[in-house]
């Protein structure tokens, strides 16, 4: 299970990183989103991967799941969600203000685009 989990997380992170390094705003936003998914999965696994661990303390149970990573992931998801929403709006604003969705638009030679 560990190997599969690690591969998936690593693949997500690699894809996210690749997209985040692209030159247009949309892939960058998608890349950052993928990266945050990978991070959430990673955080989730930091307590150790167990199955059938009890979440609530009960008598006679010795196998507990670590509750903290779940709380951490929940916080990270909420924050990541807000940030993604913000960056999508921002990317649209950049597109509207500059008439181009290049991340590094050179000033003085902005392409004039027809509004469709």
């Amino acid at each position: 299970m560990e190997a599969l989990y690690a591969t998936v997380t690593g693949f997500l992170a690699a894809s996210g990183l690749y997209l985040a390094l692209r030159g247009r705003t949309f892939p960058v936003v998608v890349g950052l989103t993928l990266l945050s998914y990978a991070v959430n999965l990673f955080l989730f696994s930091t307590g150790g991967l167990t199955t059938n661990g009890a979440a609530v303390i009960r008598e006679g149970v010795t196998d507990y799941a670590d509750p903290l990573p779940q709380a951490l992931v929940l916080t990270a998801i909420v924050i990541g969600f807000a940030m993604t929403a913000f960056s999508v709006i921002l990317a649209m604003r950049v597109r509207g203000d500059q008439g181009s969705d290049q991340v590094n638009d050179q000033r003085g030679e902005e392409p004039k685009e027809e509004k469709s």
């Binding site: 705003t25 990266l35 945050s36 307590g47 916080t75 924050i79 960056s87 604003r93 203000d97 991340v103």
Partner: protein
């Protein structure tokens, strides 16, 4: 009752920020009143906290009465009290300046400003790693909106770079936290410092990776050399009061480095003791050198101040990397000085730009300013301070730091610090003579400084003479802070060994 004071620097801006959300697009006067009152109250509270912390006792506030290491705690020691007080002072100057009209250029400036203050204060006060992340996010998301306050093409593009970089930074922060939690099983800083000291040798590599990753994240916030590229553009395109407040943002990164790498990975960390500092030393020196070059090449006053901030970041991190009492005390004094004066210089650059009409803040001969004597005087004070010429506070800070260097460190530190100061001197002299002397006559009917702007400028730039006059008591406090900072055992003991709740007395 006094115990609850620790949580007020977070609650007060939160409440006043929420209060301003009640009615959108309402008239601006009540908001200004709320913002000014809240920030002034924050200054008073933080001053009381500084006095309280000066007893040398480390106090904590357990949120929800969950005792450490399980619950989230806010920790008050000399350093965090000092940082909160510094933030409040800087914020008061910025808010005052913003009341002159900058707050009308977009929606809800004051509300966002208060929320950003909440994030900054929280980051300074928290004693929990994950809580530090949360407060980083609070201050970042407020700063994203503040950076783009008023709109404009430049701002959106600089803003997108800033947002994308910080999102990547947050992702790395979480990975680092995950690694640290996975290896030590705790998130409380004091508890983590104990766990790291007694670590299983097998996990050394893992935790080292986590610690370095954390350094990258804090380095991104602090704008250390390979990670600084966002800073000059973001700072020079931000509205003036926001840029002034951003002067504390790089210090949040430096504070985090200072806290984590003296407490958790400090001299008590066994095999991992002080392993980051040698790396930091070279990166800090390189930042210093590059800041000097940047200042010389800047063609806009605001850009110039942004590179001056970079020099100050280099100087501060050199102090951090020396990791002894004397340099740490020197850097804390220098930090107070540089935060206030660079905030003041951002405000001044904006005031100059406004009075020069079309030429703006660019360093080109153009129309003169309307009030050359007044602005010239401010510029002179600001320049003398930020370069570090006696008798103002910059000279004291730099002299303390230079004096604290060991003979083996002297060749590098002295040459680079003095050369970057020289670069600053040349650049400031050149831009000052271009702006004030190579200028035509000012338009006598042009815009003048409004009282609110004047108040902001006096508060921030006037702090420098005050810092030199009060250098005695302040250095005594920073000396004590440095001693306390290096005494990681006392910190851990104060947090972990008491069972009495912080909130119930």
């Amino acid at each position: 009752m006094m115990h609850h004071l620790i949580v007020l620097p977070i609650l007060l801006p939160l409440l006043s920020g929420l209060l301003m959300l009640v009615k959108r697009d309402s008239i601006v006067l009540p908001r200004r009143a709320i913002a000014l009152t809240s920030t002034a109250a924050l200054l008073v509270i933080s001053a009381v906290l500084v006095i309280q912390s000066d007893s040398g006792e480390i106090t904590y506030y357990a949120l929800g009465d969950w005792q450490p290491p399980f619950g989230i705690v806010l920790v008050l020691d000399r350093l965090s009290a000092l940082m909160v007080c510094l933030t409040a002072f800087l914020a008061l100057g910025s808010v005052a300046y913003a009341c002159a009209g900058d707050d009308r250029k977009g929606s809800n400036f004051h509300g966002l400003f208060q929320l950003q203050l909440m994030g900054i204060n929280g980051a300074f006060l928290t004693g929990d790693m994950f809580n530090l992340f949360v407060f980083f996010e609070v201050l970042l998301i407020a700063s994203y909106s503040l950076l783009m306050h008023g709109g404009g093409k430049d701002r959106t593009q600089a803003g997108f770079h800033y947002v994308a970089l910080n999102l990547a930074g947050s992702a790395m922060f979480l990975i680092a936290l995950g690694v640290l939690y996975g290896t030590t099983g705790t998130l409380n800083m004091a508890d983590m410092s104990q766990k790291v000291a007694a670590l299983d040798p097998d996990r050394l590599g893992l935790i080292k990776a986590g610690a370095f990753l954390l350094l990258v994240v804090f380095g991104l916030k602090a704008a250390i050399l390979p990670l600084y590229f966002w800073l000059p553009r973001a700072y020079s395109s931000a509205p003036a009061p926001v840029a002034a407040l951003f002067a504390i943002m790089t210090k949040v990164g430096i504070y985090a480095i200072l806290r984590v790498y003296t407490l958790i990975f400090g001299s008590g960390a066994g095999e991992l003791a002080n392993f980051v500092q040698p790396w930091l030393w070279w990166f800090a020196l390189a930042t210093l050198a590059l800041g000097g070059l940047g200042v010389l090449s800047a063609r806009d006053l605001r850009n110039q101040v942004a590179y001056l901030i970079l020099i100050s970041v280099g100087t501060l991190l050199v102090g951090v990397s020396m990791n002894r009492e004397a340099p740490l005390a020197a850097l804390l004094y220098y930090m107070i000085h540089t935060t206030l004066v660079s905030g003041g210089l951002f405000l001044l650059a904006d005031a100059i730009g406004e009075q020069r009409g079309k030429a703006g803040a660019r360093i080109v001969p153009g129309r003169g300013v309307t009030q050359p004597a007044l602005l010239g005087l401010f510029y002179f004070i600001g320049a003398v301070t930020v370069i570090g010429l006696p008798p103002l506070s910059g000279a004291i800070g730099k002299a303390l730091l230079l004096n604290a260097a060991l003979p083996s460190e002297q060749p590098w530190l002295w040459s680079l610090l003095l050369l970057s100061s020289l670069a600053g001197l040349v650049a400031m002299a050149r831009s000052g003579s271009t702006v004030f002397w190579k200028a035509g006559r000012g338009d006598s009917d042009g815009p003048r400084l409004k009282p609110a702007m004047l108040a902001g400028l006096i508060l921030l730039l006037g702090a420098s003479p005050a810092l030199s006059i009060l250098a005695g008591p302040i250095t005594r406090f920073t000396d004590a802070s440095a001693t306390q900072l290096l005494d990681h055992d006392a910190y851990a003991e104060a947090i972990l060994s008491r069972n009495i709740a912080g909130g119930d007395s």
